[in-house]
Each structure stands twice: as C-alpha cells, then as structure tokens.
C-alpha cells in the first residue's frame, strides 16, 4: 500500500514536471505577446550608448510581438522630472526608467510594479529569465527596494579607471595606480607637466558632483553619508579624510574642474590632456570610437584605485520597471519588452551594440573579455560595490541638491571641508527629520 502510494506520488510528480517542462519549452515570446499585439509601450530613454543599442534591437521585438515601443529620449537632467510629472499626472508612460538613486522614490510612491507580479505569471514569465544570472549587487541596487525587486538592470555602470598607458609609460610607470594615495603622491607629480594633468575628476554642480566626485571620495576612505541610525557621518575622520584627499588631489587636475561634466572629463582623456579619469563603464564606446577619441591604442582600463577601506568604486545605472499607471495590456506588453531587452539570450547582442548588460553569463565568455577590454575591470568592480553608494531613498533628490551646492563650495575653497560637511550634514538631517526617519514613521532603508 505504502509502495503503491509512493509510486503514485512519484508518477504524479513526474507528470507535473513533464507538464512544467512542456510549458517551459512551449513558452515563446510570440505566443505570450499575441494578446497584446497592437499595444504601445511608452518609455523614456537617455541619449547614451546603452540606449542606442536598445533602439537598434527593439525593431526585432516589435516585429516578433506586434507591440510598438514609443521612446522619448531625454537628457539625464530631465529624465527624473519628466517621469515624476508623468506619474503624478497619471500620464502615458508604461515603463519607468529608474536610476538607482530614484528607486526608493518610485517604489514608495507606488509608481512601479513589483517584478514578481509578472515572474509568477506563467503566461508572461520567460522560463529562461534566470534572475540569478544578474549580478546580485546590480540587481538589488538598481532594481530592488526594501527587499522587493521592481526593475531589471538595463543600463549598467561601474566606475572604472580609464587611463592613457602611453603617457604613464613615458612618465616611467608600468601600470595604473593601485591606490588613491599612489595616484596622488606618485602619479600626480610625475604626470602634471607641460600643460597636461595627471587626473580629472568630473565635479560639475549636478548629479556629477554628488555621485562622481563627492561620494567617490567618501567610500574608499571608509566614510559614508549616513551612520546606521541615519545621522550624518560626513564629519567622521574617515569621511573627512576622503573629502580632504579630494581637495589635495585638485592640484593635479585641470583648472576649472568644478565645471567638468562627463563630456569634458572624457574629452580631456580622449584628447590626451589628462592621463587618467575615473568614469562610468558606459563611456567605453565613446573612448574607443575613432571619431570621438584620439587616444587610440593608448587607452587602458583598470578598476578604480583602492583607498584605506578597499576599492568601493562608484556604482550607478538604470533598471526598467513596469509603471503602475499603465493598463493591464500595457503592463504585460511593457514587461515583455523589459524581459526581452535584459534577457540572457540578448545580452551578447546588447554588448556588441554598445550596451553593458548585467548578466554574469555573458562575461564568462573569454572572447568577450578580449574584445571589450573593460570587462575584467567591470566584473571585479561589481564584486566590491556599495549599493548605498548614494542613498537610494525618496529624499535623495533633495539631499543631492544640498551636496551639489556645498560640495562645489568646498572644492572652490568658499568653505572649509569641515564646515561644508557640517552644513550638508545639518541640512541632510533636517530633510530626514521632516521625512519621518527619526520618529519611526519610515524604515531606515537606503
């Protein structure tokens, strides 16, 4: 009897598995998309290499599914405002493009749908989706908030050290600096001469000042924006060491570095005016493009230098999530698009067209590491990143403005590092107080 029960249970399981695998093998994008043919998905893109790669790929998705993708391309500076206004006004957007520092804001306002709404739906979930194939740091930081995954990583960056190996060789260096201290004390003096500069740290007063300049100098030195109880940590000895280091390093940077945005820093390296920059991996294609860069074969890439607390490189990037305001058909169509664009199967194409996928599998291909020289440094950086490199809560848009203003003032010498950090800290705590973090109204999630 027991045996019979056991056999029937086993047979039942086997039947179930067979049915499941049949369902898996039966799933196809074309079939899944049939009910949504003719639906239009409205989404915001930026004018960056990863988005241009996606634009080249999307006609294939449209012809397979009959779903139309309507893209609005915006500059980064406008992308948040346009989306916020669209969501508040219950506008047209069906998918949200989310910078990692916007995720808390979007999730807390209920503007985006948790991904498991779709991954649990066998009609919509691609059996090969394989969420575990995404770099865990990237998936959680770019697409996750407070333990829930909303978006799939789409345009993925890590800070890397791009350098001119010919300039370094001429100055007697065999390779890039391993630490920030070496960069300042050894490479700085040797490479700053004849109108050329050792390093450029883009520090324009916008998100560049907060993310690329201010935060970049906090973490490797053991500093951070906030303590565990959400008080300012900017006047801790570690944070101060990092921010003072930035001031000292400025003597090896071009004058007017506070007006440098990404374009200026990349151009300075591309034209041979500076020897090293720390930039997002996404600028690889700009620096290797002969039309936009003179650096040619002298370009080399390494992970960002280490500080006393480790490498802790800049972390940034965008995920795509389904917008709550979309109707059911648009939601399903948007999910299918997001899933297809970020899929394991399309990662190679995306990479070859200039995008940076977050799929671990694509980087295991040894041939890719040879063809795309930034890959080893990128993969190493994603092992040692900090998700809260910039706090990702809803208050970041307000806090980043404070950091941008006072961080620039520090660099210009209008206030001392200590005074500037104190002011940012006080203003930051005021914002967090109003938001309700100190009286238990909001969880201390960043």
């Amino acid at each position: 009897m027991k045996l019979r029960n056991c056999v029937s249970a086993f047979a039942f399981m086997a039947l179930g598995l067979a049915a499941g695998s049949q369902a898996a093998s039966a799933w196809s994008l074309e079939e899944a998309a049939k009910p949504y043919a003719g639906t239009t998905v409205d989404v915001v893109f930026l004018d960056r290499p990863g988005y241009n790669a996606a634009k080249e790929m999307l006609p294939e998705f449209e012809s397979k599914t009959g779903i139309k993708v309507n893209i609005t391309t915006l500059p980064y500076e406008n992308a948040l405002g346009e989306q916020v206004r669209d969501f508040v006004a219950q506008g047209d957007l069906d998918a949200a493009l989310i910078d990692l520092v916007w995720i808390g804001n979007f999730a807390e306002n209920g503007w985006i749908v948790p991904a498991d709404t779709f991954t649990k739906d066998p009609k919509l979930a691609d059996p090969d989706l394989d969420m575990n194939d995404f770099f865990p740091l990237v998936l959680n930081a770019f697409g996750g908030w407070n333990g829930t995954i909303y978006g799939l990583p789409f345009d993925n960056y890590s800070g890397l050290l791009f350098y001119n190996k010919c300039m370094l060789k001429d100055a007697g260096f065999d390779g890039p600096p391993e630490t920030w201290a070496d960069l300042k004390d050894k490479y700085g003096p040797a490479l700053t001469k004849d109108g050329k500069f050792a390093f450029a740290l883009q520090s324009k007063r916008n998100e560049t000042q907060s993310a690329d300049s201010f935060a970049r100098m906090l973490w490797p030195f053991g500093g951070s924006f906030l303590t565990k109880d959400f008080k300012s940590n900017l006047n801790s000895p570690e944070s101060q060491a990092g921010l003072n280091f930035r001031q000292d390093l400025m003597k090896y940077m071009p004058p007017g570095i506070v007006s440098y945005d990404h374009a200026e820093a990349v151009n300075a390296l591309a034209q041979g005016d500076v020897a090293m920059i720390t930039e997002w991996s996404a600028f690889y294609s700009t620096l290797t493009n002969k039309d936009t860069s003179k650096i040619g074969d002298c370009l080399a890439i390494a992970p960002e230098p280490k500080g006393p607390a480790g490498r802790k490189p800049a972390l940034g990037g965008f995920s795509l999530a389904v917008a709550t305001q979309a109707d059911d058909n648009e939601k399903a169509a948007a999910w299918l698009m997001i899933q297809w664009l970020t899929s394991k199967a399309n990662a190679q194409t995306y990479l070859e067209k200039g995008g940076v996928p977050a799929r671990q599998s694509v980087y295991q291909n040894a041939d890719n590491a040879k063809r795309f020289t930034y890959i080893p440094a990128l993969v190493e950086s994603w092992q040692d990143g900090v998700p809260e490199f910039r706090p990702r809560f809803a208050e970041w848009p307000t806090i980043t403005e404070i950091v941008q203003e006072w961080g620039s003032k520090m660099m210009l010498g209008e206030v001392s590092v200590e005074e500037g950090a104190k002011t940012i800290g006080a203003k930051m705590e005021e914002v967090l107080q109003k938001a309700g973090y100190y009286d238990g109204k909001k969880p201390l999630a960043q």
Binding site: R205, P254, G256, V258, A394, T398, S408
Partner: protein
C-alpha cells in the same frame, strides 16, 4: 456726435482676448497662488496640505533666497545700465545723417543677437568660454594673455553671464532708442544744431524728452527679463560654479523641478512677480512724470 456701441459688440471684440488672457495668464497665476499656500511636493503628492503663508515665511527667512536675490540685483544694476549707455550711444551714432546703407546694414546686424534663442546663447557661450578650446581664450592668447578660467571660476563665470546679457540685449535698447530718436521733429533738431554744436546740450534738451518713454519701456522689459533670466545661465553654468550664478529664476527652477517642492517654488515665483510689478509701477511713477 457720438454713437453708442452696444455691449454685445464690445464683448464680441474684447471677449476672445480676455478669455485667452484668463486661460493662459490669469488661471495659471491663480493656481500658482493657491499652490503656494500648500505643502505640495510631487514626490509626496499624497501628503498635500494647506499650510497658509508658511511657504512665504520659509522663503523670506531663507538665506539662499536672499543670496540669489542679491546676485540678481547685482546683475541688474551692472547689466541694464551698461546696456542703456551702450544702446543710447549706438542709437546716437546711427541717428547721424548721411550713413545711408550702413545704417540699414547695422540695424539688420543688431537684430541677430536678439533673435538668437537664450538657451542657444548659453550653449554658444559654454563653447566660446571653454578654457582650452574656446575662441575667447584664443583671442586673448594672440594678445599674450594666459588662458582665463571663465566657467570654472565664480567671479569669471559671473562676468561671463553679464557679458552675454549685455551682448544679447544692447541691440534691443539701441533699436528702441533709435526709433525714439526718429520721433524727434527734424526741424527742431536742425534748429538746435544751428544754435549749438554741443551734442550733450542737444541730447539733454531736445532728444532726451523723446527718449524717456522708450527708456521706461526698456527699463520695464529689461527688469522683468533680468529677474527671470534663466535659459542662458542654465545652459551655460547651471547656476555654478558653486552658487556663483544661481540667480532667482535658477533657484526657483531648482526648487520646483529638481526638489519637486512646487508649493515652495510657487511662493518664490509669486514674490518675484510682486517685486516685478512693484518695480514696473515705480518706473512709471518716477520717469513718466517728467514727460507729462
């Protein structure tokens, strides 16, 4: 004999204009006033509440607001008088008889800076003032002057903004003044020239009274334009470096569009509007009295 016009005729002629004005001008203004009395942050839209004059109190006690106002005031007091002096000078030069085609050509050239979009002027300025590749530093280099860090230095960035504002709007002043000079009766001007060869005397006693209405119009328009100067500065310096060029309109945009605090930004904008209206009334009272 006077003909009585029917009310319906008046309404038919004026109605569309009044309706359009109410739709695009008055209604948004009233909405702005209403929102300025609320806590209304787009990222916390569900926490909207009536806060009375609290936003106004916050703005008026905020040092950042007053610093922006100070920067805007300095810009106004340097830029507008410079434009008026240069504009009147150019107009007087072009008003001289016997210039012929040169005058027509110069008039045409004067229209170009005004016709250029503000944002484009800012983008051009960003390129032209680039420390390494900018044409301004190239010219300075020909004169043996070392490259100037225009955009990355707070004082130089401020000077660059003033320079571009003067470049763009001096032609406007010149053309208005030229039009005003054309309204001086030629026989009076000729008689005055027979009496005296001193240009200052002719300017002071003959031409200036005819220039005053134009000057008042220029002052009102340029005051409003300077107070709301945004596009050019935004594309050129984005208010930086630091806060060096964060004028009041840049601050309002930052508050409303980057911090999403629509209530506070509305209060800032309403205060700016009140100030603009007050200044416009003051100009009319002070200067128009002279020509009455």
């Amino acid at each position: 004999m006077t003909t009585r016009v029917r009310a319906s005729t008046i309404a038919a002629f004026l109605g569309p204009s009044v309706f359009a004005l109410a739709l695009v001008g008055i209604a948004p203004l009233l909405y702005g006033v209403w929102k300025s009395l609320h806590f209304f942050n787009l990222t916390k839209a569900n926490q909207q509440e009536f806060v009375g004059l609290a936003n106004y109190a916050t703005v008026l006690t905020d040092p950042v607001f007053w610093q922006s106002m100070y920067r805007t005031a300095v810009l106004f007091f340097v830029s507008v008088p410079t434009q008026i002096v240069l504009g009147v000078g150019i107009a007087l030069l072009l008003h001289r008889p016997g210039l012929g085609a040169l005058r027509a050509l110069t008039r045409l050239a004067l229209v170009l800076p005004m016709a250029t979009t503000y944002a484009v002027v800012g983008l051009l300025a960003q390129v032209m003032f680039n420390i390494k590749y900018g044409v301004i530093n190239q010219f300075l280099g020909f004169a043996g002057i070392a490259p100037v860090n225009w955009i990355g230095d707070p004082v130089n960035a401020y000077i660059a903004v003033i320079f571009w504002d003067v470049w763009q709007w001096t032609p406007f002043v010149a053309l208005v003044m030229l039009a005003s000079l054309s309204s001086v009766p030629p026989e009076i001007e000729e008689a005055a020239r027979l009496e005296t060869g001193r240009w200052w005397t002719i300017l002071r006693h003959i031409q200036l009274p005819f220039l005053v209405p134009g000057l008042v119009a220029v002052l009102i328009l340029r005051t409003a334009d300077t107070l709301k100067l945004f596009d050019m500065v935004f594309t050129m310096t984005r208010g930086g470096p630091g806060s060096a060029t964060e004028f009041i309109a840049i601050l309002i945009e930052r508050t409303g569009n980057r911090q999403f605090d629509i209530g506070l930004a509305s209060a800032q904008a309403i205060i700016l509007l009140v100030l603009t209206v007050f200044l416009a009334r003051a100009y009319i009272r002070l200067f128009y009295r002279e020509v009455r």
